[in-house]
Subunit: 213 residues, 2 copies
């Protein structure tokens, strides 16, 4: 039997969202308390809310949507790298120092951002740890297929031109954002990241777990 | 490497929904075409849309929500039973005849309903194949923990009192609805069903896959 680590954020009205993105909400459609047979709600949330994937169409008009991401990329061996010593921007030297194995396909970057989720911080903050464009290029050169980060964006807040996103998405790398890695040690796992099969979605909320035998 | 079967429905405006439930929609929030840096949307959909889980709180006020369902139940060995010979209601004899293994924990019922998805039927139809209350009791007695079906409800349309739902949810069984099993043979697999971690959700859309080595 595997140990299952849930690395997904809870979706509720208090969840921190990116500035300008709608807060998640549930609207009652049917209620037992109103004499109806069951409880049913309508969920409203941004496509980049909480734990979510960035498909190419997030930044590239005509690019693949959330429903077109390869499940073979979203499921498989993944390395959690400990980058908690990095204060702001993760570069090539940080990634090399963290000891990424040769041939690693999926990389999850554990930083001090994860502590924000543990504290259930309710306000957005611009000073999260992010991946530099050079760090993104380094991962592309290593043949990585999926990059996961523990804040709502892989990229520094307000970065002109969004070079980290464009470098990763342009290389066909799946970006997984909004992970909570606070309870996960560094090392090797099996990742299962399942976004909704959202036709043409420019992003999609996802549930992600790490499995270890 | 595993073979991955995606048994989830695509979520789009044409997806058939239960009568009275809202149709899924995407509303633009940011658009590259409008000079903004990226594409972001707001997703609106019912908690029981497409492939989704029924937690106890769907029928039982105060019952566990979608975010409280055990990942240990949602992930693990699963049996796909071929019940395509059943015309309307699956009973104990049908389940016994389909050859459910002793000790099976997760059971997915493949019926002619799955052909509806392959045809991408766009109209709701009341005459889908469902699980009888006696069939549900039989599964409870066998110690099953998760039951999956290939239409939007496990229960016959308009069944007074919803005894199949109450039998399963009352026994703590997770119900997974809206599967497309048309491309999956009967037999043994590893199921990974990941609903959104929706706080207090009376249901949640999910992505579900079957893995086979």
């Amino acid at each position: 039997m595997s140990v299952i680590f849930d690395i997904s954020l809870s979706i509720g009205p208090d969840l921190v969202v990116w500035p300008g993105n709608p807060a998640p909400s549930l609207r009652p459609v049917m209620r037992c308390a109103a004499g109806q047979s069951s409880n049913v709600s309508e969920l409203r949330l941004g496509t980049h809310t909480g734990t979510h994937v960035d498909p190419p169409s997030h930044f590239i008009d005509g690019g693949a949507g959330a429903d077109e991401l390869s499940l073979e990329t979203l499921i498989g061996a993944a390395s959690v790298l400990d980058l908690r010593a990095v204060s702001r921007s993760i570069g090539p030297d940080d990634l090399a120092r963290a000891g990424l194995a040769n041939g690693a396909t999926r990389v999850l970057l554990k930083t001090t951002n994860s502590e924000r989720w543990r504290e259930r911080a309710r306000a957005f903050s611009e000073d999260f740890v992010s991946l530099s464009p050079e760090g993104a290029q380094w991962l592309v050169a290593r043949g990585v297929r999926l990059v996961g980060v523990d804040f709502l964006s892989v990229e520094a807040y307000g970065a002109p031109g969004h070079p980290t996103h464009h470098t990763l998405l342009g290389a066909g790398i799946v970006i997984l954002e909004g992970l909570d890695l606070s309870a996960v040690p560094s090392g090797e796992f099996t990742l299962v990241c399942l976004p909704l099969k959202l036709e043409g979605g420019d992003g999609s909320p996802a549930r992600a777990v790490l499995l270890r035998d």
